[in-house]
Symmetry: C2
């Protein structure tokens, strides 16, 4: 209990969209430019730009300009960080909130 939930909500929102999950998958084995990502999807160029902005602003994806092209890579540090966060909140721990419950049962569970 007491994680920076709000910070992670931004990142998790970024991965809670089918198009963006596909893009992350596409980037998982190497760098791609916007034009190639666009070819693999059925969306408009402006929509892709919108999604890439969300992915790079949440730091899940690194964006580098190369001439008139944009080259994108997956930021594995960030994706691992999200995984670690989610593992953390789903794992049992000391000082857990539920241990303070009022309506505990004899078996030390809540309610």
């Amino acid at each position: 209990m007491e994680y920076p939930y709000a910070d992670y909500v931004l990142v998790i929102k970024a991965i809670s969209d089918e198009t963006r999950l596909k893009i992350i998958d596409m980037l998982s084995c190497g760098e791609m430019c916007a034009c190639d990502i666009l070819e693999g999807l059925s969306i408009s160029q402006s929509t892709l730009s919108y999604h890439m902005k969300i992915l790079s602003e949440s730091a899940l994806v690194n964006a580098v300009r190369d001439g008139s092209w944009m080259r994108y890579t997956l930021n594995k540090e960030k994706t691992d960080d999200v995984i670690a966060f989610f593992k953390g909140i789903t794992s049992e721990k000391e000082n857990c909130f539920c241990k303070k419950c009022k309506n505990q049962k004899p078996n030390n569970q809540c309610c």
Copy 2:
């Protein structure tokens, strides 16, 4: 490439909300009833009911009626499944989409 993205979008959307992340964290070390969860948050009872519905419909949380109370537990199988899915799409793999890119560079990267 070619994961059941849409299926996981539902689950990831379920965890992309601050209130629901808190609830998952609360449930991480044991069972809780709705009333105790409600005490730990600053939302109305109807809003909690809405969030619990999203969490249990996405199978992240198991809901059991016990008399007039509802008892909730975290479904670790499902949370582990989401983690496995996300690890999968963020890890390099064979037959990766990006290997079919048109605009490849000499280093075998895209663009």
